[in-house]
């Protein structure tokens, strides 16, 4: 009896011989990226299983568990080194030798995500970090980061292709996988993100850009204008959300739903671009966290106060009057004339 996913039967033996093996490891993750990925429309998840990749391990959907699942990972290392694609979803905890994330048991010992990613990542053909946590640390490495979580690139001494998003857009991940399988490595930006999906800022692609240019701003979420003044991170965020859109069927995206973009694909997300409803991220000093606006306001107040106090002091002590009197009475000029002549002649001698 064929396995059924949705309404279509999954037919064995249809997989192309060139389809590379795929491992999708879940480490410290909420699982949102895998769920989002399953919503991919064209190609869909079934197309991936049938035509594109030999999906050996996907922590969220596979039926294997325990030793059977771990054995698949071991087999990949021994029988298919340099051939499989490793996808990692989530951060890699490093504290306590990585025991904050265990992906299975091996010989009665916990197989930590740190160990698994290092072993599998070293021998993989491509390593893809899916979601902002795997790519840059994201919420799972946010302050105070008790598990010492790191992004995939930080624990591997090789190139990692980052496909960030919180969660990742199904198209970004499926598109990257298809590109890797069919055409090889896509063109990457300086953050190792495929330029295909992260090549332009949301701000430049936004349908509401003309509202920004003409200073038509929303004062609160829900208004149909530019979200810049309520903290939209579109100008700082490279992603194609405005035209690709979300929810599998490309229906909507945050600004279209009248909320600001929170810059979830950014390397600084979430600590470095919070608060989400402020234009600028907070300024963090040891023991102090203050909004950038407040720093600006305090500096301006201190400047005005300093100048005001000094000006008052100069007036009260008569210094200001003296300076102007000396300049405009002419006595200053005469004194300087004598000084200059003396200086000039003493130099000549």
């Amino acid at each position: 009896m064929p396995i059924r996913i949705g309404t279509e039967p999954l037919r064995p033996g249809k997989l192309s011989r060139s389809a590379p093996p795929l491992i999708w490891l879940g480490t410290n993750t909420c699982g949102g990226d895998a769920v989002s990925f399953l919503n991919s429309l064209d190609p869909g998840y079934l197309d991936l299983l049938r035509d594109l990749a030999d999906c050996r391990y996907l922590y969220l959907t596979m039926t294997a568990e325990g030793d059977m699942a771990t054995r698949i990972l071991d087999e990949m290392l021994t029988t298919l080194p340099g051939k499989y694609i490793l996808v990692v979803e989530g951060t890699i905890p490093t504290r306590s030798n990585g025991l904050y994330s265990v992906v299975g048991m091996r010989n009665g010992e916990p197989l930590t995500a740190l160990q698994a990613v290092r072993e599998l990542g070293t021998k993989a053909r491509y390593v893809v970090a899916v979601g902002t946590c795997a790519a840059f640390g994201g919420p799972f490495a946010a302050m105070p980061n008790p598990s010492g979580s790191l992004p995939v690139q930080a624990v591997l001494d090789r190139q990692v292709i980052n496909v960030p998003g919180c969660p990742v857009n199904p198209d970004w991940m499926m598109g990257t996988l298809v590109h890797l399988i069919r055409f090889g490595e896509p063109e990457l930006d300086s953050f190792n993100r495929p330029k295909l999906f992260y090549g332009e800022t949301i701000h430049n692609l936004c349908q509401r850009r003309h509202y920004f240019d003409n200073s038509l701003f929303a004062k609160q979420p829900g208004e149909p204008w530019c979200m810049y003044q309520i903290g939209c991170k579109g100008p700082d965020t490279f992603a194609d959300c405005p035209y690709r859109q979300w929810n599998g069927e490309h229906l909507s995206w945050p600004v279209k739903a009248n909320t600001p973009c929170i810059g979830c694909v950014n390397p600084e997300f979430p600590d470095g671009n919070a608060p989400f409803f402020e234009h600028l991220p907070d300024v963090r000093l040891p023991g102090v966290r203050v909004t950038a606006d407040r720093v600006g306001a305090l500096t301006a107040a201190a400047t005005v106060l300093g100048i005001g106090v000094h000006l008052a002091g100069s007036i009260l002590t008569g210094r200001l009057a003296h300076a102007f009197k000396q300049t405009f009475s002419g006595s200053g000029a005469r004194t300087r004339l004598l000084q200059n002549l003396i200086q000039r002649f003493s130099k000549k001698r």
Partner: protein, 198 residues
């Protein structure tokens, strides 16, 4: 005799022509950059711009003027060696308490300085260091695609924007202090930035 004429008239040369010309290019550029920059950070109509588009144009023109004039000023400072008059040295630091005592009205006796006092030297050096920071962060925000390596160094466009803003705030505070002291301390010296002589 020609060189003696201004001296006989009681004029002492203070700023060469090129330094004055460059000053009057980068000073308006810095002010325009500050005003348009604050508008771009928080666009309110009371800040003098009708829309973001015009503030952006002002900011970008100011940016080019500032970059060119700053580089020219650095070149001039290097070849005329007038950076020696601007950078604070050991003696300036040692004389700082005496200078502060006078400025804080704790002492009546005004200390004498060759051209710039320690406060001016610190202020000019501060501006000289902040302007390149503004230029680098500003260019990375202006062309984030081409200069993405700079964005990587800053840890993302968000932190980069924050540093650009904070440096802008510092430039604003230093410029305000500079304008205040230039206008009130010795109007003769203020005149010299227009005429070249005090």
């Amino acid at each position: 005799m020609r060189s003696l004429l201004p001296i006989i008239k009681g004029k002492k040369p203070r700023h060469p022509l090129l330094a004055r010309l460059l000053h009057w290019v980068y000073a308006p550029a810095v002010l325009a950059g500050i005003l348009s920059g604050f508008y771009l950070t928080r666009p309110f109509p009371s800040q003098g711009f009708s829309k973001v588009e015009s503030a952006q144009k002002t900011h970008f023109v100011a940016q080019y003027l500032l970059i060119c004039s700053y580089l020219a000023r650095i070149y001039q400072a290097y070849f005329t060696k007038d950076y020696q008059e601007i950078l604070p040295g050991f003696n300036d630091m040692a004389g700082l308490p005496r200078f502060l005592q006078y400025e804080l009205f704790l002492s009546q006796k005004k200390p004498k300085y060759k051209k710039y006092n320690p406060g001016q030297k610190i202020l000019f050096t501060g501006l000289g260091l902040l302007i390149p920071l503004q230029i680098i962060t500003g260019l990375a925000l202006y062309k984030p695609n081409s200069l993405q390596k700079t964005v990587v160094l800053a840890g993302g466009l968000g932190p980069l924007r924050k540093w650009h803003y904070l440096a802008g705030v510092a430039v604003f505070a230093l410029s305000a202090g500079h304008i205040y002291f230039a206008c009130t301390h010795d109007p003769n010296k203020l005149k010299s930035i227009f005429t070249g002589y005090e």
